[in-house]
């Protein structure tokens, strides 16, 4: 079995990290959600904000979060390494999180995964295998950044990815003729007057 290590040694060094003034305001808002002296409770929100600003979480960013929230840096590292949604290595602009849990797998996530891996170039797209995203009704599902793209097959996935590549944002949700998780082909019942 491969050696496991939580600290990616092969990540590029980032010299410094500072929140933008707008984000700093947001940080203040997060901290204000908790009673005085409990500012450390905001750590997950603040880490997420740092990740959105930087694209991933270099160590300097975690240190900065620790400084702002008056925590020991190790406490921030613990949290950032615990949650898989914090990216400790640089990612492409779009992170393709492919669900491979049973329902998606039965509906063809292997082919989706293959296509995503093919598309992943590290700059525009990065790919990550994830456990159940909770969209089983619309399997197979890929989460791209914050949105779910559902009911995919290789062709529709390619369409979505091409749109992203062109800089567009394709419509999230089912990529077939279906409203959310309602049956395919439009309304079938309660059509009458």
């Amino acid at each position: 079995m491969a050696m496991i290590t939580a600290d990616p040694k092969d990540v590029p060094q980032v010299a410094s990290f500072a929140f933008t003034p707008e984000n700093l305001e947001k940080v203040k808002g997060f901290v204000a959600n908790y009673p005085p002296g409990r500012q450390a409770s905001a750590v997950i929100s603040v880490l997420d904000l740092a990740q959105r600003q930087q694209g991933w979480l270099p160590r300097v960013a975690m240190n900065e979060v620790a400084r702002i929230l008056d925590m020991a840096p190790i406490r921030v590292y613990e949290i950032a390494t615990f949650y898989t949604m914090f990216q400790l290595k640089p990612k492409g602009k779009y992170l393709l999180q492919v669900c491979t849990t049973t329902p998606c797998w039965l509906r063809g996530s292997d082919a989706i995964m293959k296509a995503c891996q093919h598309a992943a170039d590290g700059e525009t797209f990065s790919v990550q295998e994830v456990e159940c995203l909770g969209g089983c009704v619309n399997a197979p599902v890929v989460q791209i950044n914050d949105d779910f793209y559902e009911d995919l097959d290789e062709a529709s996935l390619k369409k979505v990815l091409d749109a992203f590549k062109r800089g567009e944002t394709p419509k999230p949700g089912p990529q077939v003729d279906r409203q959310t998780s309602a049956p395919e082909g439009g309304a079938l019942t309660l059509k009458g007057e």
Binding site: M1, A2, M3, I4, T5, A6, D7, R59, A72, P73, I74, R75, Y77, E78, T81, F82
Partner: protein, 679 residues
């Protein structure tokens, strides 16, 4: 008080304790890995499962479950046995079977508990996980494959040592105990991590592959590297000290010792004085005891006792000090001093030179004022005790003296005596807090007393101390293990005698012709001038380099000796090994020398010496007792100068001849200065 039934036996237990503690009271062993009396409860190893009624029909972690009235607890039912079997099997899924090459082997909780509570085989045939080892500094060796994630080390570092540098990263199978940034822990208590680790994941680096626990002879003794007098166990094999471990004493060191006490022992093997030396034509030449004594007798006999001076070192036992004092008295010399650092303490009133409140008193203090001291380097274990008090949330701590990171927040009022005077006059806001406090504790360090104006500072501190029948809040934190014992025995200048500064000045002006150093190395030996120097000690350090005659003595592990710690507690250290070569126990050397000088000392056995100790000061009659000293007048009111207080311990890792000879301590120092430079 709730009444509970454990394995059918009914008992009453204090409210608020956990089931595990109740079982312990009932004398029933409950296996555990993560639970530790002095750390917060984690409840993550699941080894302490028991069956509890009423409750859900499943085993419960007894370490995290408080007792409730009319509870029934079972520790020997099939459900419990099976649960423990299962937990042990889980723990061993990823634990390597490398006990034969593991330093923990033979004293491993996992090994013992696997024998007692484990299943006899494993049903897991997958490969075990491999975890990279971590860098935790020069004292702690890691073998992270063996880690069972009990998190004791993380909790110790965070809670007791006060360095939040260890944590658990990742989750599930990827969980790792790490500093993440791969740097040595910046604590003086790192060695305790090794004791806490229930498996062989953290072992002592300097002791790696040195010995097995069952090969060693265990001797109970007392630490001499600082004035706390931590209780230790010395493990020896074939006459060599292999390691030092803490011994439990809630009143002194709980169960911790600092890294110097634990790891400076390799210094006992280097730079040792193993035979007498006599300086012949400017060069030290090996000699016999007879030659050495003859050289001393030839020098001492013709001269007046007033021209002889004596200085006592910082790690001496009381037995050698009383013999030393009696010898000097016999020679007619009043020039004797134990205060190498020049501390302005007087021996007249015991309350003026001991830590009256006792180390235990820290647990009751509600305001602590540190004066001229940095307890973190002067006594790390005592510092951990103050931190523990701080964590209880019922204590405010302020300091007048050096700025330092003490691992707990300290309100720094000022740097020197001027601030102290303002405080005494009630001009500072903090004076109100001090006045309002029920049990204020004023800890005066050597940094405040080893100054020209030390006596005035002492008087100032005295004026602020609260002394009642049930509380004496005046505490002196010494740095020398021998100091309180020496003051108890009156090793201070007699009528018309000279103190250390006077002796050194006398050497310059040739009024002092002979200086006898009893393991005293912390003086400026260049000031000894042309005096004839006799050095009796165990290491070839500053004193021995300057000496004209060297008498090889015994280090603290090699003699049975009495030590009085900073709180005035008399403790007995046992001999764990023998002095090297021709070296002898110190009191015996002094006894033999007195014979040659025709001033024989009136004792021939260690018991007679101890009887003499009691005759000189009756505190020596009661071992391991602590009480506030007699409260008299001490210190001299006077003017103070403006120089800031500076801790007398500049470098924690090297304070005495043994630690200066220790390679491990040198490595610790290098590692620390590297970290400092990186910051």
């Amino acid at each position: 008080m709730p009444t509970i039934k454990i394995d059918g036996k009914e008992m009453e237990v204090p409210a608020g304790i956990t089931i595990l503690q109740a079982c312990e009271m009932a004398g029933i062993e409950v296996p555990r890995f993560c639970y530790h009396e002095r750390l917060s409860i984690a409840g993550n190893c699941r080894m302490c499962l028991v069956e509890v009624k009423p409750g859900p029909p499943k085993p419960q972690a007894s370490c995290a479950l408080p007792v409730a009235d009319k509870q029934e607890i079972f520790t020997n039912t099939p459900m419990v046995t099976k649960a423990r079997n299962g937990v042990m099997e889980f723990l061993l899924i990823n634990h390597p079977l490398d006990c034969p090459i593991c330093d923990q082997g033979g004293e491993c909780d996992l090994q013992d508990q696997a024998m007692a509570y484990g299943f006899d085989r494993s049903r897991y045939h997958e490969n075990k996980r491999a975890v990279p080892d971590k860098e935790l500094g020069p004292l702690v060796k890691t073998s992270m494959n063996r880690c069972i994630h009990c998190t004791r080390c993380i909790r110790f570092a965070t809670e007791v040592a006060g360095v939040e540098q260890l944590g658990a990263t990742g989750r599930g199978e990827s969980m790792e105990v790490t500093t993440y940034v791969e740097s040595a822990l910046q604590t003086e208590l790192a060695g305790n991590l090794v004791d806490l680790c229930p498996v062989g994941a953290l072992t002592a680096k300097p002791y790696a592959f040195e010995a097995r626990s069952w090969e060693m002879r265990k001797t109970e003794s007392v630490d001499v590297f600082d004035a706390l007098g931590a209780n230790i166990r010395i493990d020896t094999r074939g006459g060599q000290v292999m390691r030092v471990l803490p011994r439990l004493n809630d009143d002194v060191n709980e169960e911790w010792i600092d890294d110097k006490s634990r790891h400076a022992i390799d210094g006992l093997r280097h730079q040792r004085l193993d035979r007498p030396y006599v300086r012949v034509k400017g060069k030290l030449a090996p000699a016999t005891w007879d030659d050495a004594f003859a050289a001393i007798a030839a020098k001492l006999k013709p001269i007046d006792g007033k021209k002889v001076a004596a200085i006592v070192g910082d790690q001496c036992d009381a037995e050698s000090m009383v013999a030393f004092k009696d010898l000097m008295a016999g020679l007619g010399s009043a020039n004797i001093d134990c205060r190498q650092d020049g501390a302005k303490l007087d021996a007249s009133s015991r309350g003026g030179y001991i830590f009256n409140a006792g180390v235990k008193g820290i647990d009751q203090a509600d305001v602590i004022l540190l004066v001229g001291t940095n307890p973190r380097v002067e006594s790390p274990v005592l510092n951990a005790r103050i931190r523990k008090r701080y964590l209880s949330g019922r204590c405010t701590i302020a300091s007048v003296g050096p700025a330092a990171d003490l691992t707990y927040p300290v309100e720094r009022l000022g740097a020197g005596p001027a601030t102290l005077r303002e405080l005494a006059d009630g001009k500072l806001g903090f004076a109100e807090k001090l006045k309002a406090a029920k049990n204020p504790l004023i800890i005066v360090g050597m940094g405040a007393l080893t100054r020209e104006d030390g006596a005035a500072v002492l008087a100032l501190a005295r004026s602020m101390a609260v002394v009642r029948d049930d509380w004496n809040g005046f505490a002196v934190l010494h740095t020398a293990a021998s100091r309180v014992g020496a003051l108890d025995l009156g090793l201070v200048p007699g009528e018309g005698g000279r103190d250390v500064a006077g002796i050194l000045a006398g050497c310059g002006s040739k009024e002092i012709e002979v200086v006898y150093l009893l393991a005293a190395d912390e003086i400026d030996t260049t000031k000894l001038g042309k005096a004839f120097v006799i050095y009796q000690g165990h290491h070839g350090d500053a004193g021995a380099h300057r000496a004209d005659v060297i008498l090889p003595g015994a280090a603290y592990t090699e003699k049975s000796g009495t030590y009085v710690n900073t709180e005035g507690r008399v403790q007995l250290g046992q001999r764990a090994s023998y002095p090297p070569g021709d070296a002898r126990e110190d009191w015996a050397i002094l006894r033999a020398l007195s014979e040659r000088l025709e001033k024989p000392l009136p004792y021939d056995t260690i018991d007679q010496v101890r009887a003499r100790l009691v005759a000189v000061n009756k505190v020596f009659a009661a071992l391991d007792q602590q009480a506030p000293g007699a409260w008299g007048s001490f210190g001299t009111a006077g003017t103070t100068n403006d120089a800031p207080f500076v801790s007398t311990v500049a470098n924690f890792y090297m304070t005495d001849p043994i630690s200066r000879a220790s390679k491990t301590m040198a490595e610790c120092m290098a590692s620390r200065s590297q970290l400092m430079a990186a910051e």
